[in-house]
Amino acid sequence: MTVSLLPRRPAPAATAHGLSARRLRRARAVVAAGLAVLAALVVLALAAPLFGDPLHIDRDGISALGLPRGAGEHGYLLGTDVLGRDLLARTAYGLRTTLEFTVLANVCSVGLGTLVGLTAGFYRGVTEQVLMRTVDVFLSVPTVISGLALASVVGRSVGGIVVVVAALYWAWTARLVHGETLRLRGRPFVEAALVHGVRPRTVMVRHILPNIRTLLLNIAALNGAAVVVIGSGLSYLGAGVVPPHPELGSLLNEGAQALEFAPRLLLVPLTLVVALVLSFVLVSEGVSRMVPESERRSWLNI
């Protein structure tokens, strides 16, 4: 009875309403491009075992002069690193590790942030004040610096990165979700549901969450980009995955030592990091273009 009064799928207002077909097509193309890049990277990561052992040191891996093999030499598609390990295998496995912590940390931070933002925006009052002031504190803590401090205690592993990144990034989601929940909280359909005696938790899940899904998708994409940057950045600084095991950030660090004689060692993982961040940025850009912009005319151009 109560549910039938309410829009079951209140999608149009939040997504494609009021957009020209051309703009919508373009926005979808941008999202598709981002997803395509992401899919290609995931396939590369899943195919990592095909490229061999990332820790194996081959006798042929180093030339007679003690230099790493260049791209294509001795059957190494991307050459070897300074110790003679196959760069392709190391990069593929490194990408795998990076993707692992990206997914985990993204889910954790967006999940926690959504929970806090929804609760604060829905219940208001003291709950809101306490939660949002905590969010403010977390927002003004510098991430990399406290990340290093936290990592020195949490330990250096994939799990450690997930904990550190989730702890540092949930507050951004919470703030955005809180603002949007506040806006929806005053809307008639939420009030109607509450007046009908629907439990608050059900209202949040049924009526508020579906309305912020575009925002959540956008947040997840932007947060994903940030998580890749901060996670591989911490690894690059030595606070991530322990060295013999590859990770894009620690590969960057290894490559930086060989900057003068084999810049390839730096450029390959660097390209992958940029591609991964780019995929998230493209998805976010496309999603935010699906929300209609207000068309205001500048008074200078009449």
């Binding site: 002031r133 403010d136 504190v137 927002l139 003004s140 803590v141 510098p142 991430t143 990399v144 610096i145 406290s146 290093l148 401090a149 936290l150 990592a151 020195s152 205690v153 980009a225 890749v228 940057v229 901060i230 591989s232 950045g233 690059y236 600084l237 030595g238 606070a239 960057l252 930086a256 900057l259 003068e260 810049p263 730096l266 450029l267 660097l270 990091v273 940029v274 961040v277 780019l278 940025v281 493209l282 850009e285 205001r296 005319r297 500048s298 008074w299 200078l300 151009n301 009449i302």
Partner: protein, 373 residues
């Protein structure tokens, strides 16, 4: 009723006894009602100002109260942030590691040595006394001694702080200049421009450390026009400042574009155009100042990100600031230095926020009535 309507400004609210007395509602400065007050309530009669306050005096007083309240709230939040950070660093230093004495002396220390260290750091005292001593130390500028070098952490950080601040100032200049240029270009054209869009996406997608290495390879090793060694002079500052600045450009560009587009569509610009001002005059007098406000808000939020990227940039270019100090401290597991840097960085962020916010309320009178950003 009167109390409820004035929730935004409890200090400026008249005592309940006076609320029902005399002066007509028009005399009440509109600024006394917080912008969050729902529109339905603003129709209701408002409370009267205290006796003997002229409408004009009341207005300026309300404005001052607004500013004072805002700055006060900011200070309170800043103090809370620093208190939380101090507590967290204390926990990470003294509680989590189990035995800090062993952390300092290493696994092969003799029991006598451990005992002496415990004595020095008051580790035998109850935890809350240790916390009190630590917090007192932090507020008097004593961040403990470095495990590795034995020198006071505050002195170590004090040496490294000026270069970091110098680098940040240069980068902020690059960031705001380029961001404002791109944003203004788009706003004046009135549509999204492909080159700007591409630049923004590229800059968003390239993390600070990747951009740093690309620049180092291109300008340092490739073209040979920038130094690749470590150093702290102007020549060494150019590349890191540009890299640090470029990472923030897309954010400023979009803030400037949106802010300026909103201003260009507003009635006061219509009036300015209608009365025959030239385009440059309209921009200079009526648009730029309005756009400065969101830029300052952005700058306030940006400090935390800035202080983070500094670590990467300093490490890559060998700039002797607090970022590279912290990375060395991490490698050495030198916890007092690590935690000291966190405290100092948090203080920097809080001060930066406060500065941006104060500047904003000077530049933009509208912001004085907002309680939070």
């Amino acid at each position: 009723m009167a109390e409820h309507l004035n929730t935004g400004h409890p200090e400026s609210a008249p005592p309940p006894g006076e609320a029902s007395e005399g002066t007509p509602p028009e005399a009440v400065p509109t600024t006394a009602v917080s912008p969050q007050t729902p529109s339905a309530e603003s129709v209701l009669p408002r409370s009267a100002p205290p006796k003997g306050v002229s409408p004009k005096g009341g207005r300026s007083r309300a404005v001052w109260w607004g500013t004072a309240r805002r700055v006060g709230l900011r200070l309170l939040l800043g103090a809370a942030t620093i208190a939380v950070v101090v507590t967290a660093t204390f926990a990470l230093l003294y509680v989590v590691p189990g035995d800090p004495a062993r952390g300092i002396a290493g696994p092969r220390a003799t029991p006598e040595l451990l005992e002496r260290i415990r004595e020095q750091l008051h580790l035998t005292a109850p935890l809350w006394e240790q916390y009190g001593a630590y917090a007192k130390g932090v507020f008097t500028g004593d961040l403990g001694d470095s495990y590795q070098r034995g020198t006071p952490v505050a002195a170590l950080i004090g040496d490294r702080l000026p270069p970091t601040l110098l680098l940040c100032a240069a980068a902020l200049f690059v960031e705001i200049l380029l961001g404002a240029a791109l944003g203004t270009w788009e706003a004046l054209r009135g549509r999204r421009l492909m080159p700007v869009l591409m630049t923004n996406i590229a800059l968003l997608a390239i993390p600070a450390f990747a951009l740093g290495y690309l620049f180092l390879l291109a300008f340092g090793y490739g073209l040979g026009i920038a130094p690749v060694s470590n150093g702290a002079d102007t020549a060494h500052m150019v590349l890191p400042a540009i890299v640090l600045g470029l990472t923030g450009v897309p954010y400023y560009a979009s803030v400037v574009r949106d802010g300026m587009a909103a201003t260009l569509a507003s009635p006061h610009v219509r009036t300015a155009v209608a009365k025959g001002l030239s385009r440059p005059a309209v921009l200079r007098r009526h648009v730029l100042r309005c756009t400065l406000s969101p830029v300052l808000t952005m700058a306030g939020m940006d400090v935390a990100i800035f202080v983070s990227n500094v670590v990467f940039v300093e490490t890559i270019f060998g700039w002797p600031g607090i970022g590279s100090l912290q990375v060395t401290a991490f490698a050495d597991q030198d916890r007092p230095v690590l935690m000291g840097t966190v405290v100092v960085a948090a203080v920097l962020v809080v001060l930066g926020n406060l500065l941006a916010d104060t500047l904003r309320s000077v530049v933009d009178p509208r912001s004085r009535q907002e309680l939070t950003t």
